[in-house]
Amino acid sequence: MGFGYFITIGIIVGIYIILTLSLNIISGYAGQASLGHAAFFGIGAYASALLTLKLGLNFWVALPLAMLAAGIIGAGVGIISLRIKGDFLAVTTIGINFVIVSVFEYSDFFGGAYGISGIQYPELFGLKISKAYYLILVFVFVFLTALFCRLISKSWLGLALETIRENEDAAEASGINCKKFKILAFAIGCALAGLAGVLYAHFIRFITPIDFAFPISITIVSMMVVGGIGTIRGGILGALFMAALPEILRPLANYRLLFYGGLIVLIARFQPQGLFGENPFLFRKIFGRSLPITQGDKSGMPGGRK
């Protein structure tokens, strides 16, 4: 287990942190169901792969374009969310995940079931960014994403999203254009997922449709739930915990999934607010005190026990 191993883990964790934070904008702040987030992870990855390989574009040009692609399709889902709501929306997002992955899998344009290989590392001023440098690249983006999320939570946009989550009728009556902000939440969240996708594609350099299937969406959602829905630190720590878990469980080899599934059940059952959200049982036991309440407060999917 050399240095390279830890670099790989670090990069994957970083990518998942971005994914979790991006989902948090849609589901945590705006309270909209989104169980198919991995689809946009995939759109970003495939878009960047195709732009760099087929059109010969530079990584740094392909990156924003891929994010744009993911963001636009995300906005499309946002428009759908205006019509289909609540649990129906939840299942619809699952369906969108399946449909998009099917498109990747069954069309030759996207390489079919074999995916796309031969994706290149990015270059900056002639220097090929790989390994340790790539880790730095990823963490720069993680930092920027976290900063952006913080900016949103302290801004009027964040407040608007929160009001939509809490009570749409009251939000409209307070002058807030719910339609516009919902679409915006999806666009931003999905664009950031696309960012994660680009980082993934140019690191692994070989992507297949399965990498972006529904189980990945569930992984992202579990990270958000385990960490604590709605908070930035919850998103970061949840992703860290869950991404580190398969490695920690490695010695259990044959029983890994058993423990993984069981752990999710236990955490959901006994610490539903997340390990690092409000009132964290485990944290209190270890550190003897509660975590400070952040502005994001308690939040979650629509249709909560009201």
């Binding site: 900016l151 949103i152 302290k154 801004s155 009027w156 946009l157 407040l159 608007a160 929160e162 009001t163 809490e166 009570n167 009728d169 009251a170 939000a171 409209e172 009556a173 307070s174 002058g175 807030i176 254009n177 719910c178 902000f181 915006l184 407060d297 308690k298 939040s299 009201k306």
Partner: protein, 247 residues
């Protein structure tokens, strides 16, 4: 005496049900107009049709002379109608301050980039305090809305509506669900709002209050306007008595 709100032949149907029929109504500046009538008369439907929650099937709505019929709710809110709900709708899990800020920031939330601006808490806090003071719950400013009593939540909702700097305040049954102790201070709040010159249209079943506070009354029954006038006149109107007795 200018009209703040005016409706012309406002009508709303739900399938075969005629919830509102040809309602002509006028709210004059600085008055408190009471909208009363038996249950199911269409009072809340009227509110919804005015505020854009329902699109009227027929008729028009004017705010200070400008037509607002069928506009989206958020636009009507920004143009100057603040309303509260029969079943109170606070933003439960955020603080009272942020509840008020949501409406206070109406100009900030118009475009995308202004919306990304940080909320200048120091600047807005004074205004939030002032509004909360008006309704008497300044001390709750930092609490999450869900920890407030129903009476306080209703007051918060009024403050939130006032944060829009509305030309018209529409209150839907402000006393519903409140105990006598909670009603008394709220009556004071509404009276003080009137003293500030705010134009109010309200729905209420509480007869003594309506008699005492309203300048004029409009009675609805089966979606139609039955009669209107000063409280004493309306109270003694034969048709009104029949409508209430019959319901």
């Amino acid at each position: 005496m200018s009209a703040i709100l005016q409706t012309e032949k406002l009508s709303k149907f739900f399938g075969g049900l005629r919830a509102l029929q040809n309602v002509d109504l006028e709210v004059r500046a600085h008055e408190i107009l009471g909208l009363i009538g038996p249950n199911g008369a269409g009072k809340t439907t009227f509110f919804n049709a005015v505020c854009g929650v329902y699109t009227p099937d027929r008729g028009k709505v004017f705010l200070e002379g400008k037509e607002i019929t069928g506009m989206p709710t958020h636009r009507i809110a920004r143009m100057g109608i603040g309303r509260t709900f029969q079943i109170v709708k606070p933003f439960m899990n955020i603080s009272v301050e942020r509840n008020i800020l949501a409406a206070l920031g109406k100009d900030r939330m118009k475009g995308v980039s202004p919306a990304l601006l940080g909320i200048g808490l120091e600047k807005s806090r004074e205004e939030v305090r002032r509004l909360l003071r008006l309704v008497g719950i300044e001390s709750s400013i930092a609490q999450p809305a869900r920890t407030l009593t129903l009476g306080h939540q209703k007051r918060m909702e009024i403050a939130r509506a006032l944060a829009l700097k509305p030309k018209l305040l529409m209150l839907d049954e402000p006393f519903a669900g409140l105990s006598q102790e909670e009603i008394r201070p709220l009556v004071q709040v509404i009276k003080s709002l009137k003293a500030e010159g705010i134009t109010i249209l309200l729905i209420e079943h509480n007869v003594p209050f309506v008699m005492e506070v309203c300048d004029r009354l409009v009675v609805l029954n089966f979606g139609e306007k039955l009669c209107e006038g000063p409280p004493q006149e309306v109270r003694n109107d034969r048709r009104v008595i029949e409508a209430y007795l019959g319901s």
